[in-house]
Each structure stands twice: as C-alpha cells, then as structure tokens.
Symmetry: C2
C-alpha cells in the first residue's frame, strides 16, 4: 500500500545532500537517506533507482532535459541552429531560480568531490545534448552542424552553471548563460 | 617476480575487446581477459585498474591527454584560443592512425552498448578538456574563454571521431576534425 507523501522527492534530495555532506557519499546508505527524510526505503525507490540518482532528479524523469527540449521547440522555425539552442539554454537557465542557488552550490561541492557522481552528471548532460541534437535535426539542421550546435550549447551551459554556483557570484544564470554564449561566439570568430 | 611481457597492454586490450564482443561486458572477468591474452591477472593489474579501464588506455597513463596538451603547447604563443585548440586537435587526430580504425570501430560499438563504459569515456574526455583549459590559461587566455574554447574543441573532436568510426567513412580523422571545426565556426557565426 503506498500512501501519498507530500514532496517526498524534495525531502529525499535534501536529506541525501545533508548526509553526503555530513558523512560522505560512501558512508551514506539509502536507508539512512529515507530515515532522515522521515520516509521508507520503499518510497525512496519509487523515486530514485539508487543513491547516486537522488542528486540527479531521477531517471528518466529528467525534468531538465524536457525543459531544454521544450525551449528549443519554442524557438522560431527559421532560427539559426545556435539561436535555437540559445532559446533552449534560456529555458534551462529559468529552471534554476535564485531560490535553488544555495542547494545547487552545496550539491556542486558534493558532486565535485565524488568521481561516481561526476560520471552521472556527465551522462545526464550528454543525454540533454543528444536530445537537443535530435531536436535540431527535426528542425532540418544537418549533421554534423546539429550535434556541434547542441554540444556547444551544453558546453556554454556547463560553464555558465559553474560560474553561477561559484562563491560570491550574484548574477543570475540567464545573464551568465548569455554572457558565456557571447564569449563562445567571440572565441569561434577569430 | 615480474617478467617482461612483450606488448602486454596491447594484448590485453585486444583480448578484452574480443571477449566483450563475444560474451558481453558483464559476463567477462579480468581473469578471462588475462587468460585470453596469455597473461596473468597480476600482469593485468599492473596495467589497468579494472576491466572498464582496459578500453581506456589505463589511468593516469592517459597518453591521449598528453598528446592533446603537447599539441596545444606547440601552437604559436600568439595563436587565438580556438586556433591553439585546433593545433591540439590535429595532434589528437594524428594519434588515431588508419591502422587503429578497425579496432576503434569495434571499441565504439562496445562502449556505445554499455552505460558504464560511456560514463568512463565521458570522464576521460572531460579530463582532456580540463587539461586544455588549464593549458589555455597558462597561455594567458582568460576565463570563461579558456574553458569554452577547450570544451568546444572537445565537442568538435568527439563529433569528428564519431564520424571517423561510422561504417563506410573513409576520410581520415584529421580531415574530419578540421571539417567539424569549420562547421562549428560557421554555426557560431550566424
């Protein structure tokens, strides 16, 4: 019998991050996370496949990937490939509101300290890049331009995100993403 | 007592790829690989940390990362960031000679079929990107231009490499890398 747990996913994410910081990733079990969140292991596994996944929104529930793909689809049909990708990045940046920044900063430190979490992060980003490339091909962009525009867009977003979570940074992610894209265009132009 | 094993690394790579294709990655043990190569487990572990690593050249023996970094260092001091990265990519492309292509094609299929191998591949590529970004900063390139140029370069190389190992592709990796970089510049220019 499953019962509805208000914001179970968010509570599990918060509990996992707390425990990873306190004890380290290796010393934390799924049971620890569920207990800290006031939930059961069973509830945990309804949302996440394993303790790595809890910092990545669950799979395939990649809400972030959907945000990017929807942003791409909303770009004008005649937009140039990188302009369409820019629309996707704007949508991605909107997803990370100011309220999310403290959690994102802590999460970034934990991920950066654990190779197995970095791997998962890279896989997630690669899946977004693949989805964007597919979306560009559907818009009539040829290969390799579609893959290159998608990969470049993700590189821009990754760099902007790292700036966003850096200590003391106050600009929002939209501004940082646009600034990074402008820098990329300048780098590619010379 | 260790004895010298001629080309132990190459024999282990070949044996691992054969077995991963025949039985699948999950059904292959380090012992199977060593036995097929006519070597001992002990010799295997002198070269590779685990059975994933055998397809990635061993760590930190990342010969490929060194090739890129050396290529970057050889670029003229006043080269623009992406031109310096282009020199690194040329060096990387030279590393994959025509004789390597059949092995690379088989390896690509095995890696593509196993998420845990894809993860390792992404980590390796990210480590090359980080090394290039560091090399660019040492050349006086500011952030975020250094990270963006490095990430973009790796994206170009990854796309070119996928084309190189695609069935029926006959152009060499240097030509494909340069073509992909030109496409990236064109994508970024509009």
């Amino acid at each position: 019998m499953s019962r509805w747990e208000p914001n179970a996913r968010g509570r599990l994410e918060q509990a996992a991050l707390d425990l990873f910081e306190e004890r380290g990733f290796d010393q934390t079990t799924v049971e620890d996370i569920a207990t800290r969140a006031g939930l059961t292991k069973r509830t945990f596994f309804r949302h996440f496949a394993d303790k790595r996944e809890v910092l990545f929104g669950g799979d395939p529930g990649s809400a972030l990937r959907e945000v990017f793909v929807t942003g791409l689809a909303a770009a004008p049909p005649d937009a140039a490939p990188l302009d369409a990708v820019a629309a996707a990045l704007d949508a991605g940046a909107d997803f990370f509101t100011e309220e999310r920044r403290p959690f994102a900063r802590r999460r970034q430190r934990v991920v950066g300290a654990h190779p197995e979490l970095q791997e998962r992060e890279l896989v997630k980003l690669a899946s977004i890049s693949s989805a964007l490339a597919e979306g560009l091909r559907e818009r009539g962009v040829d290969e390799p331009a579609a893959s290159l525009a998608a990969e470049t867009g993700l590189a821009v977003f990754r760099v902007a995100f790292e700036r966003w979570v850096a200590p003391g940074e106050e600009r929002d992610l939209t501004a940082l993403t646009r600034d990074s894209l402008a820098t990329l265009r300048a780098v590619a132009a010379v």
